[in-house]
Symmetry: C2
Subunit: 312 residues, 2 copies
């Protein structure tokens, strides 16, 4: 407990409860908003001694270095060999390549985690590459998936901020194969940067986020596309007001990222989309049959639920 703090702590407020960093060297693969903010927060809270940012091109990495988001940058994944924690912050579609590429270099004690918006597909890829957990040395035992709920409109290293995770939800979806003390260490990491931790199974996670996030994104894109493709598009857009603004805010989100999420969580999303189509069919019948009380009952219930809902 008397180890000296990191030599890189000139600008750090040292928490006396936490003078031994949780990790020596951390590798962040993908130094944008999510990875960059975690890296800044780990420095801020003295949770590691050294941070290496990895990426495919130097452009983003140089920005991250200039912003002190990481201490060192590399396009060469062999430096993963130095890392005690590896955080994968690339788009989920790149996970297969990333996990295969880092596998030969991983320390036998390194923990690995991710920040992907879908979890069943990530776990499936990880088990393919890191083993099913039936061998004592399978890396899958040290891979603990997670999903921090902390998006914002801006992307990239310039958007990163040390307090991004303060009071934000982080959903951990640990595997039966994970060692409990590894899960606990990752939980400590997220708690130390201010997050509120909860645990779901990967399946539960994907069902929940299909309904409250993925489906609404698809519906918002669909409404904007419908208006944009109508013959009065410009007139309509010129009169669109506050309701349209909020309803479609998420339709300005990155199409590449959301294309990947939609396909990654296809099973749950298709299920929700089909239920939604049935719901719209019911509303259509209420309108065509002049079922005023039926429609009112439906929307009154929805309004009550939404009025009572508070963001947690």
């Amino acid at each position: 407990m008397n180890h000296p703090p990191s030599t890189n702590t000139a600008n750090i407020t040292i928490n006396p409860m936490n003078v031994i960093p949780l990790f020596e060297t951390v590798g962040i693969i993908g130094v944008g908003l999510i990875g960059g903010s975690l890296s800044l927060a780990m420095k801020d809270k003295n949770l590691c001694r050294h941070r290496i940012g990895f990426g495919r091109t130097l452009n983003t990495l140089n920005q991250a270095l200039a912003l002190n988001i990481v201490d060192e940058i590399s396009t060469d994944l062999s430096l993963i060999a130095q890392c005690d924690l590896v955080v994968i912050c690339t788009p989920v579609a790149q996970f297969e390549t990333v996990l295969s590429s880092i596998k030969p270099y991983l320390k036998p004690t390194a923990l690995i985690t991710d920040v992907g918006s879908t979890k069943q597909d990530v776990v499936a890829v990880a088990k393919t590459i890191f083993g099913q957990g039936d061998h004592p040395d399978d890396i899958i035992k040290r891979f603990i998936p997670a999903h921090p709920i902390a998006g914002k409109a801006q992307h990239g290293p310039h958007a990163a901020q040390a307090d991004l995770y303060l009071n934000k939800h982080v959903i951990m979806t640990p595997l039966a194969e994970n060692r409990p003390d590894y899960i606990e260490r990752l939980k400590q990491l997220w708690e130390s940067v201010g997050a509120v931790i909860s645990k779901l199974s990967p399946l539960q996670h994907d069902i929940v986020f299909s309904s409250v996030s993925h489906l609404p994104h698809l519906l918002a894109y669909a409404l904007v596309a419908q208006i944009a493709n109508s013959e009065d598009a410009q007139t309509k857009l010129s009169y669109a007001g506050g309701g349209f603004k909020d309803f479609t805010r998420i339709a300005a989100s990155s199409p590449e990222m959301w294309r990947d999420i939609f396909f990654a969580n296809k099973t749950a999303l298709l299920n929700d989309l089909r239920i939604y189509q049935r719901v719209l069919g019911h509303l259509e019948v209420c309108l065509t049959t002049d079922n005023v009380s039926g429609l009112e009952q439906f929307i009154s219930h929805a309004a009550q639920v939404r009025q009572a809902w508070k963001p947690s």
Copy 2:
């Protein structure tokens, strides 16, 4: 141009360009957010000398009087006989009753306008009661429909504010039967309270607002209802975040008001709802057939349109 200002101007900043009020006595039927704010703004801008608030029950009227939203209140519509301008701010579903009730009392020179969210149905009701315009004295010549786009979450007299209409859109949907100088006077009124005026036909109005307002409201209610009726409702709602919050904000809106709007604009809304169902069908096919580029193309276009859109 040298008439003295109103004797009620103790707290009013008199605009020297506008010392003659546009109207002597104004009747506001329904003194909630929309009617109350217009009444406050008319006093603030010295646009009338006397304001009478009408309603069915004294409760709301007493609040409005206590808040100086109006100068006089009445549940007796015979006082309409004093009014040079009558502004109908009740729910559209009450218009038939309201127009029939005020008709016997209307001054032969009074202008009449409304603030309803749908326009074809209002015009149809008005023509039934005020005449088709084929007789010289038909009241319809003096009825100039309008729709101020200025909702907010709060309702009732307490939510009213004199600057509600500042830089807000007001859509006028004048009729072929309206005298041009009457239209001009109503336009002056809205401009004087800070609004940005545009004109559409009642049909154009209803088509535009079905797409940019009524359909999104129906879709937001539908999503909340779907989640609320799912077996994991509480878990889902507990993880719902910023995307859900903005997407469903309009699902907290008054169910009674939106039931009326949905049925009042049924033709345009059903048309939009059916197109939307076809759009969702297309997205479903993209997902089931793993048409990644098709889905990406679709959502990229939507994202571009939404990113370029600015609220006017």
